[in-house]
Assembly symmetry: C2
Homo-oligomer: 339 residues x 2
DNA sequence: ATGAAAGCGCTAACAT
DNA sequence: ATGTTAGCGCTTTCAT
């Protein structure tokens, strides 16, 4: 019995199911996607037929017809840190419960590549887009707007999102941590990332400087350094800073991993933390807690960011009239032994 | 000038492009996807028109017609570790270069959920599937087979893959590390994960036991413990083991993170590593190298696993006659200070 | 080199 | 409650 195997895939389609169930394709379709519209008996027959033939619906066709997919695109600078995966898990938890799946693309630090990914993803007509960034090429912004689908930007709190925005404020977080540090230490340095076209690293630097100024301290350029985004720099920069500016007694790292690297380097060199040098990071995870004496950090609720992004997106997917939203998920200074 | 905006999306389709370029939709389509079939002049006109109207192709329609998508599904137990993201980056690097995008789904430890994801992904008619697991429900295996698309299973080297298999051998890796340890230590314990239906954790345990037996040592059940897959257990289990079996002088952790946790706990308690207790882990990353005295581990080339999975998959996507493949990417004992 | 017709597999809209 | 018709946006196939 060979029931209408679709040409290419070898899979049986809705017509095959319909045939087996002895109904029209339309009824079969309804029985599966809107069961309440179909007589209980028919429903059962169709469901059994579907199971019997191993029906795998073709969502390409379904989506083309319905003008809506069950796909959300996620465009993110990098997956290579636990911070990113926490956000993704938050997003996924919410979307998966609704049968929506994630298409994920990574673009590093190149806005052009981000634009390319956005373009490519839109070609699949996703129901929504989550952009882990708030800076885009003009062309990317334009095409996203034209697509007319809900979009959530995360990673930074901004004034004028493309559509919706769920984040903490990098500026406020860096400022708060700097305020915390300068209350306790005399000379607080800041180590951030050298990434062009990235408002997050820029805002952190601004937050640091603002806190210093507000406290009437001078902002010493020698105490603000930018390092490349790669591994194995936290340890090096720690050593360099301590040599170049021996009077520095605290360092605020605008990232999680470089702070961990610096702390570990202190073990290695027997540098007393926080006695000789206090250390703090931005973004928290297990490691910060475990590594003695505990790394003082700004905890960002990444999973919550993901969850709320997805929830907001869903609301706007379900109801085209739902207004864009802006959510500040906040942050929290987690005081541990290192500062 | 309102050129054939598609009803739902507000985007202009191939017909709009064709109209602007003054050619038929078919010619426009060709000019964009198979430019060599079109006169240079026409090609230019169409390309300009496409740019002018901000053409975003509808790949749902394209795929429905061509019977092929530019999507690969990745089904993975968890994203919540750097190990997973390394694999993904390897995969993505290869696929992205070919304009193929990843649909990613996470299923935890539930095979039923994996089946669900596989089913859901197949509905998008992906060009291929990468499964970060080698154990599946019979129904999942069946539906994958019927789909008739190339599939790569990773995470463990197995005898009879659904289709293709790229991995290291968990058994061999655990055995090798155990052999290394028993050459140096008298009583080597093993800490693995308690995950039902997971051949990877099982094979690691088997590898450990096999090495002991081969060396003529007894396998003491009290020295083989299974812990739940979550954080904050490496430190606890270390302490428990040392108390319960004080003569243990080495512990092999069948995972990366629990080994790190245990090592850090040793700092905290002033336990000498490897003097009092030697520690080793399976799967390596930066942290293992940095944390003094350096964590001895089995390095798994995760990024390479990802790359080769993707490359193999591509080969089979491009050429339906290309045979299934099995690739052992191997592993390497990285000897550091901890053991 | 270009175009017209037909169809991918499904579902919205409109019968009955 | 069920069936029929038409069409989603693109590309294959078959003219010309």
């Amino acid at each position: 019995m060979n029931h209408k195997r679709s040409r290419a895939s070898g899979l049986i389609g809705i017509r095959g199911v319909a045939e087996v169930a002895g109904v029209s394709p339309m009824t079969a379709s309804r029985a599966l996607s809107r069961p309440e519209l179909v007589a209980a008996d028919t429903r059962r027959k169709v469901q059994e037929a579907a199971k019997a033939v191993g029906y795998v619906p073709n969502r390409l066709a379904g989506a083309l017809s319905r003008h809506r997919t069950h796909v959300v695109g996620l465009v993110i600078p990098t997956l290579q840190n636990l911070i990113a995966t926490e956000t993704i898990q938050g997003i996924n938890a919410v979307l998966d419960a609704r049968g929506i799946h994630l298409m994920i693309g990574e673009y590093g630090t190149s806005l052009a590549k981000e634009e390319e990914l956005i373009h490519a993803f839109l070609a699949y007509r996703p129901s929504g887009l989550i952009l882990q960034s708030t800076v885009h090429t003009p062309a990317a912004a334009e095409v996203v707007r034209r697509a007319g689908i809900p979009v959530v930007e995360t990673g930074n709190l901004i004034k004028a999102p493309l559509d919706s925005n769920v984040s903490f404020s990098n500026y406020a977080a860096a400022k708060a941590m700097t305020e915390y540090l300068i209350r306790r230490y005399r000379k607080v340095a800041y180590v951030g990332f050298a990434v062009a076209e990235n408002d997050r690293t820029r805002d952190r630097r601004r937050g640091y400087a603002a806190a210093l100024r507000a406290a009437g301290r001078t902002v010493d350029p020698a105490c603000m350094v930018d390092v490349p985004v790669r591994r194995q720099v936290g340890d090096r920069i720690l050593v360099e800073l301590l040599q170049a500016q021996p009077d520095i007694d605290a360092i605020f790292f605008g990232g999680h991993w470089i702070a961990v690297e610096a702390l570990i380097e202190c073990y290695r060199r027997g540098i007393d933390v926080p006695g000789r040098i206090a250390l703090a990071g931005l973004d928290d995870n297990d490691l910060s807690e475990k590594l003695p004496p505990g790394l003082t950090t700004v905890r960002i609720p990444r999973a919550e960011m993901g969850r709320r992004s997805a929830e907001g997106l869903l609301k706007r997917i379900d109801d085209p009239n739902a207004p864009p939203f802006r959510i500040d998920v906040g942050f929290e200074i987690v005081r541990r032994g290192s500062a």
